[in-house]
Symmetry: C2
Subunit: 381 residues, 2 copies
Amino acid sequence: MKAYFDHGATTPIDPEVLKAMTPFLKQRFGNAASLHKLGREASEAVENSREAIAKFIGAKPEEIVFTSGGTESNNFAIKGIAFAKKKGHLIVSKIEHDCVLNSARWLEKQGFEVTYLSVDDEGFVSPEELRKAIQDDTFLVSVMHANNEIGTIQPLKEISKVCREKGVLLHSDACQSLTKVSVNIDDLGVDLMTINSHKIYGPKGVGALYIRKGVKIDPYFSGGGHENGKRSGTLNVPGIIGFGKSVQINHKVGHVKKLRNIFMKGVEKRISDVKLNGPRGDKRLANNANYSFKYIEGEGLLFRLDSHGIAVSTASACASNTLEPSHVLTSIGLPHEIAHGAIRFTFGKDNTLQEVEYVLDKLEKEVKELRKMSPYKRGWK
Amino acid sequence: MKAYFDHGATTPIDPEVLKAMTPFLKQRFGNAASLHKLGREASEAVENSREAIAKFIGAKPEEIVFTSGGTESNNFAIKGIAFAKKKGHLIVSKIEHDCVLNSARWLEKQGFEVTYLSVDDEGFVSPEELRKAIQDDTFLVSVMHANNEIGTIQPLKEISKVCREKGVLLHSDACQSLTKVSVNIDDLGVDLMTINSHKIYGPKGVGALYIRKGVKIDPYFSGGGHENGKRSGTLNVPGIIGFGKSVQINHKVGHVKKLRNIFMKGVEKRISDVKLNGPRGDKRLANNANYSFKYIEGEGLLFRLDSHGIAVSTASACASNTLEPSHVLTSIGLPHEIAHGAIRFTFGKDNTLQEVEYVLDKLEKEVKELRKMSPYKRGWK
């Protein structure tokens, strides 16, 4: 049996999405910037996709700029706003994705000032702490909508109120939350928002940045002036078509949440010494469960599950190749040993109850066996 | 009948390429950074692709960094080297692609100094002029391998000699030349080289930057540390697989050249008052013909050919939406009226002799009709 519980890392392309893309991978191959019929057809299809995505998040089509994915969008948002402002201070939370954190760190090297805002033990940013951190020269706050590792959904509305009071722009990385909870830009009160395709059953290599009309941003890709001068480069037409379709399919959020809840109950009933990382209830992404299994290394457990055809993740996929414990888990106060014992399970629309029962069985068995061998077992607690 | 003569703008994905990509658009959807089997399989496929591309240009696999395309690679190369150097002077030719020129202009705003090197009336950079332009603080020269509009193949070897003598890095945009002429990095003597996929029958949204081992470059995408820390962001696995395959298919360069030559003979025999833009012979890309049809506007002619199902381009596709004459054509000394009358025909491996005869017929007819109506006809020459 195979069971994929790593939808937070990437998702399979939905067959409907691939079907929509296919003509653009074949006969409709035009460059969307070409003036001839093949080019105009590509451009029209791109604009339809832009409209679908804009509508889905409550934006205007001209506020959507297509990019190569979440990392580009986050770099674009943060560096683009910074270069438009030329100097000053920005605030990011400590549990942002590496591409936000490292964009901020890069800007520090260029002379900008950055505050890395702490979070509580469930990963929440405090709007009041944020208010205190805002300076006269603060121009941007970047707080992700939902965390990629522990599923914490931030109180963006309250964060936005503080930002607006203070006249500071708010950017949010919504790669993990898109299609799982509402990401209406006016409800959330964001000025810039990163979204991408491959986390929502669309193709890899395509994303977008929502930029509220009137927000001044320096283009990140200099070039031929595509995307109204905001992002140069030949448009990835099939990717964009797939992305547009991916917001329109049935994401079965209720089904996903139900399976995730059954899984959580099972883990907590059947396995001792586990710690849920991140919050419970509606403030947690419906597809995410993240547990530390005390006395064992997450990576060892990952490979044992893998041998049963079960795909999970330790930290985020992006950081899988490092031995450092996840910055998200250390930021919520986990000691290194507990952070190293964490496994992320992220559920998807095509998972089944049978798969959940399968993973519970294997998980119980493998945790037990690993703990038998664990050198930590005695010294810990 | 339909006839596509705009392969310089983009190419259809070759069926063999799409076939290689398909498993990765379907069941092999893993994130190449994931540690589980699905992830490792994706990563292995990516590395095979990297090897194929490296081999094709005579590089080591670790010198290839995958990007989202030519525009990103050119931004990465130029801004990345500049930020690694922190200050100084760079040189780009006046007929570079907009993404090189505008990256240089952007760097000027950040305090770097830039020389825009003139070219001769066929578009050639003079190595001797380059030598004179190099200053003590020059750190980078960027000269494209072959021009996207007029097909001029630059004397990169000679340019490289000058750069090496002076201890200056050489970057070249080889998006148009890849698979048309040899692009061996040691023969050309480049330190960085931009290549991409969608000009060579691969998918859109993927490219690479060759970075010679030891060259210090600032990453352009900050983030999770993919691509050995040089380019963060989830890898576009299907795109990369397609790109890898696209260097391995038969590009039929001899066939393309033969058709292009038949076309050129036909144009020059059957249509009066035409001017070939760019050089003749081996110093011109084998797939490119660019003619100014005096007394008429290129755009009008483009739309007339389009009505016959013939796809061509005025300037580069990237600049199609502007009314400015091509900077390439004005840089080789064309007056605005002649530059505006230019049409680029770029041939591909699947074009046929019949298509060439078809475009010649329609071209002769439409040029004649447009000239009858031309208000310029009398005043010009």
